[in-house]
């Protein structure tokens, strides 16, 4: 039996890494007496996977986890008992049954929507529009294979970028980025573009949804997985 969970990761839990979150969910499932299905082989591990890793320090209003069990879970009580034992900051929002043979969520996840809260520092509205209007935006990325720093054009991976002015002069950038582009990489380029020093600790990054392609349209992950 296959299931999909949607949960949020907020507060202090944003400091728990992807691997540690995976371990946490494994333990939560065991604690909730969910009979996880294990892989075969010499070192069996539970079949449990996230749609898209979340960087340390990023919060999320919509994380997705897919897992398989050998016995059906009790839907009526699942959410309540999950939220009763999960650490503060991890909260289950929704859970669904998945049909067998569907694509893995990680394969469906193609992009994500982010809310980037940056402190006021200049007429940011125009700068954002100019930045987004650039034909090419080069960012430094560390290559996983060669470990060397490469310059890559990230512009094609920025699907949308829209500035909003909120109270107190803070600026929120609403953006849609391809799954292979970490918002921090874009933000570094943006700060450079504006001639400002990048200060990670003054920025709040929140993933608001994970998206997949339906035709040439990006739609929330669950609407594809549940088709």
């Amino acid at each position: 039996m296959k299931y999909l969970l949607k949960f949020e990761k907020k507060g202090m839990m944003i400091f728990i890494s992807h691997l540690d979150t995976q371990r946490l969910f494994h333990r939560l499932m065991k604690r909730l007496d969910v009979k996880l299905k294990y892989s075969n082989g010499f070192n069996p591990h539970p079949r449990l996977s996230f749609a898209q890793p979340l960087s340390v320090g990023h919060s999320s209003a919509a994380e997705y986890l897919e897992f398989e069990t050998t016995e059906p879970i009790k839907f009526q009580t699942f959410k309540e008992s999950f939220n009763a034992v999960a650490p503060e900051g991890i909260r289950l929002l929704e859970s669904w049954s998945l049909r067998d043979g569907g694509k893995a969520v990680a394969a469906v996840a193609a992009a994500a929507r982010y809310r980037l809260e940056i402190p006021f520092f200049f007429p940011c509205m125009e700068a954002t529009l100019d930045f987004f209007a650039s034909e090419a935006i080069f960012a430094e990325k560390r290559s996983k294979k060669t470990k060397s720093v490469e310059k890559v054009n990230i512009r094609p991976h920025i699907v949308a970028l829209k500035p909003l002015l909120v109270s107190d002069g803070d600026v929120v950038l609403l953006s849609v980025l391809h799954a292979n582009l970490n918002p921090e990489v874009m933000l570094r380029s943006f700060y450079k573009f504006c001639g400002k020093a990048y200060e990670r600790e003054s920025i709040r990054i929140e993933r608001t949804s994970v998206l997949g392609w339906r035709g040439d349209e990006l739609v929330p992950l669950e609407s594809i997985c549940l088709e």
Binding site: G11, M12, M13, I14, F15, I16, S17, D20, R23, L24, H26, R27, L28, M29, K30, R31, L32, D33, L36, Y38, F42, N43, P44, P46, V56, G57, V85, A86, P87, E88, G89, R200, E201, S202
Partner: protein
């Protein structure tokens, strides 16, 4: 508005003293005046025009008549008589004051009240912490609390508005902003260490607790969370009414630096409460090389490291306590801690907490008298109050005994023993760390103590007698812990697992039920025998983890000296069998620098490693690339309360020569990996383990020079330690103690008699072994240990 001149700080103090205001109230007034004046200045920057002189003056005198029943009115009359009408109005109103709805309408009175509502005694603690204390006072009167709370809401909101208006927290004006934890954590390695909130961690309403206890482990989170004692004491204390126990770990350098930069102090993990505002702070002393971390943590917390500097009132600072194996020689830290708990903590610690709460209740709103509390505490068995004892030194500076300063204190402090382990507390819901820690699994202690009597081993002596926990109980607790944590690994803990009487049956039962749940079992501390191997094979099957044996010494002569009681044949046949059963990696632990050791004994280590490799190859039928052996060598450190407590540690130069000899000798052995411990760190460990009270100066100096995390090889700095010892005027050489010399830990008793230890030392020199005490009492001096009865059974 005309600002007039008011009496300055010193003149105010004179006025207060003339009116017999108590000294601690004067300190409180000064702190409130400081905070209020700074807030007033900041508000003036935002467009208000407050008379800061008036604010300072009124705040300085706001509690001038605190000893009287209507202190606000009485204080106001006094000021009025002196001709300070405006200040008199402020003092008159400060108790019942309501803040206006807008900071635009703030007057001098409001600013004084901001100060008064955020300062506890003589320190700024912020509104929330201050109100927690106010609420705690009325914990048993809910009708008053309800009224207080609604009034507090308004005050909290207005103080927040003040902070918004001045553009930052009030603490920031004083150089200690409660900075955004999130912003700090974004800049450090492994931020998960500092977040807390793990599954099964305990959250209580802090304000209504009578005793706030800090359980501190002087190393990183990953190390501290691996210690089983933390899980026991944490849940034991939190199970008590009125007690809230929170955890504290040593912050890594990056986190500490960033917190210090923002002026933030050491805080508890659960509620991020300042450590210096707790009632009690208990450190565990698991290894000597953590001592500098304690000094550093106290410094970071703003707590003076020496008890004499912390004043006579409990409440100004937490009561500092320590426990754990290293407190069997508490002397190096004797001037630091208010008291030590010697031995098992499961009974003594709750007793101590109850006693503190009753003293607190008796003191009412005042502070607990520390001296009276310590005197009472010294009547609890196992509690050592070091300030009641003064060391005597001979003219040549040799420690020669203890003088009692408080007559009623016990002559000797005998360790606490939990007689029946089946009645001792075992947590059913251990905390599950959110990040990976060193021992990341369910741990159940199966027995405490050890019957073997290895002569180098401190644990084998101080944890006597052997006390087994009932199999059914172990099983139940293990299963309960698995259910409450979701762990997929479990471990049985003890000093020598194969000595548990029902180990095979227990392991088999657990293995069966754990297999069904996809839980793996690990059984550390096994002896080298075929019985243990068979059991491991049954439990682990094809999922073989590495296998570790501790022959400790390379020749039979040496093993007899240390009373290890295993033969070369035991070792080799264990390797043969392990290889035959499919293990591909075995690790051997040895020690060098043992008393009477010769070059032959050292070469014996290399010899046995080569023989073990040959055995393994034969057992594997000559299959290639099959087998790896790791030889890990550590340096013998003489420890208090062992038969070797009198000997000097071998010089580190000589130890290093032996290391090189082994390295050379084993370099030719194929498939053998050689590891060794830093001889320099062992040298410092030896000095701390058997030091007297004078060693604290060296520890403090080392910390000042930048030493910390000394058990982390990359952080250990030998030259700084040498410099620290020299600066403190303490010898940096490990010395032996003659048989007639007083030992610094003589007033602490672990139950094993000095006569027995001396006899064991004599036997060691003759190379004679002592049997394990299940075969008959060996006369170690322990009363009523229960082993004799066991033997009869």
């Amino acid at each position: 508005m005309m600002n007039r001149d008011y009496p300055d700080h010193d003149a105010c103090v004179t006025i207060l003293r003339e009116n017999k205001t108590p000294e601690h109230v004067i300190r409180h007034c000064a702190a409130v005046a400081d905070v209020a004046a700074r807030v007033g200045e900041e508000l003036n920057r935002t467009g208000l025009s407050l008379d800061v002189g008036l604010i300072s003056f009124a705040a300085m005198l706001h509690d001038v008549a605190r000893s009287e029943s209507e202190h606000a009115a009485a204080g106001a009359k006094l000021l009025r008589d002196m001709g300070f009408e405006r200040a008199a109005c402020i003092v008159e109103a400060h108790m019942e004051h309501h803040f206006p709805e807008s900071t635009d309408d703030f007057t001098e009175l409001d600013v004084v009240c901001v100060g008064d509502r955020t300062v506890k005694e003589d320190r700024y603690v912020g509104f929330d912490r201050r109100m927690e204390d106010v609420l705690a006072r009325y914990a048993d009167k809910p009708e008053i609390i309800a009224g207080l709370k609604s009034r507090m809401e308004r005050s909290r909101l207005m103080i927040k508005k003040v902070e918004e208006r001045i553009g930052g927290p009030i603490g920031g004006l004083l150089g200690l902003p409660p900075v955004s934890m999130e912003a700090c954590l974004l800049q450090v390695e492994k931020p998960g260490r500092y977040v807390g909130g793990e599954m099964n961690s305990v959250h209580k309403e802090a304000a209504s607790q009578e005793l706030r206890f800090g359980l501190a482990f002087p190393d990183m989170y990953e190390i501290g969370m691996s210690w089983i004692g933390l899980q026991i004491l944490y849940h034991l204390l939190n199970g008590m009414d009125g007690v809230y126990c929170e955890r504290i770990f040593a912050p890594a350098e990056d986190f500490e630096n960033i917190m210090r930069k923002h002026g933030a102090p050491l805080m508890t993990l659960e509620t991020k409460t300042r450590v210096d505002s707790l009632d009690m702070l208990g450190f565990t002393l698991q290894y000597e090389l953590s001592y500098t971390n304690i000094v550093n943590m106290l410094k970071f917390a703003g707590i003076p490291a020496r008890s004499a500097e912390r004043g006579p009132e409990a409440g100004a600072y937490p009561i500092l306590i320590a426990g754990g194996p290293c407190s069997f020689n508490p002397e190096p830290l004797a001037d630091m801690f208010d008291l030590f708990l010697i031995g098992d903590g499961e009974e003594a610690l709750p007793e101590l907490c109850e006693m503190y709460m009753s003293h607190k209740r008796a003191a009412g709103t005042g502070n607990v008298d520390k001296d009276a509390f310590l005197k009472a505490a010294s009547t609890i068995n196992g509690i050592y109050v070091p300030s009641f004892y003064a060391p005597i030194y001979s003219e040549s500076g040799v420690f020669s005994g203890m003088d009692k300063v408080y007559d009623a204190a016990p002559d000797r402090i005998v360790k606490r023993v939990v007689k029946d382990l089946n009645k001792a507390f075992v947590p059913e819901k251990p905390i599950v760390p959110l990040i990976e820690v060193v021992q990341d699994r369910v741990n159940v202690e199966i027995f405490r103590g050890c019957v073997r009597g290895c002569r180098f081993c401190q644990a084998g002596m101080i944890y006597r007698p052997m006390r087994e926990r009932d199999q059914t109980l172990i099983y139940e607790k293990a299963m309960a812990q698995l259910s409450s944590t979701g762990y997929d690994e479990m471990s049985l803990l003890s000093l020598s697992t194969s000595d548990y009487s029902g180990v095979e049956a227990l392991a088999a039962k657990l293995a069966r039920d754990c297999g069904d749940r996809n839980v793996a079992i690990s059984i550390p501390s096994l002896r080298v025998d075929s019985f243990s191997l068979k059991m491991l094979e049954d439990i682990q099957g094809y999922k073989k983890t590495g296998l570790t044996f501790a022959p400790e010494a390379g020749t039979q002569r040496m093993r007899d000296v240390i009373n290890k009681n295993i033969t070369e044949d035991d070792i080799l046949s264990a390797v043969r069998e392990a290889a035959g059963l499919g293990w591909n990696h075995v690790k051997f632990y040895f020690m060098i620098g043992l008393p009477t050791e010769t070059v032959d004994d050292v070469e014996g280590i290399a010899d046995i490693a080569r023989k073990a490799m040959r055995e393994a190859k034969t057992a594997k039928g000559g299959v290639k690339g099959g087998f790896a052996l790791t030889v890990s060598v550590s340096n013998f450190v003489p420890k208090p309360h062992t038969p070797f407590q009198w000997v000097a540690q071998e010089s580190q130069e000589s130890l290093y020569k032996k290391v090189l000899l082994l390295k050379e000798s084993l370099s030719k052995a194929k498939g053998v990996k050689f590891q060794y411990h830093d001889t320099k760190a062992s040298h410092v460990e030896a000095l701390l383990a058997r030091g007297d009270r004078r060693v604290l100066a060296a520890i403090e100096k080392a910390s000042e020079l930048g030493c910390g995390f000394d058990s982390w090889q990359e952080r250990f700095d030998y030259d700084k330690w040498r410099e620290a010892f020299e600066a403190a005027g303490v010898s940096f050489e490990s010395e032996g103690f003659g048989p007639d010399r007083a030992l610094p830990w003589e007033h602490i008793s672990c139950g094993v008699s000095a006569r027995y230890l001396a006899a064991e030392w004599e036997k060691a020199l003759r190379g004679t072994t002592t049997k394990d005490c299940r075969g008959g009492c060996v006369g170690c001096g322990l009363d009523d240990c229960g082993m004799a009865k066991r033997t009869e059974k």
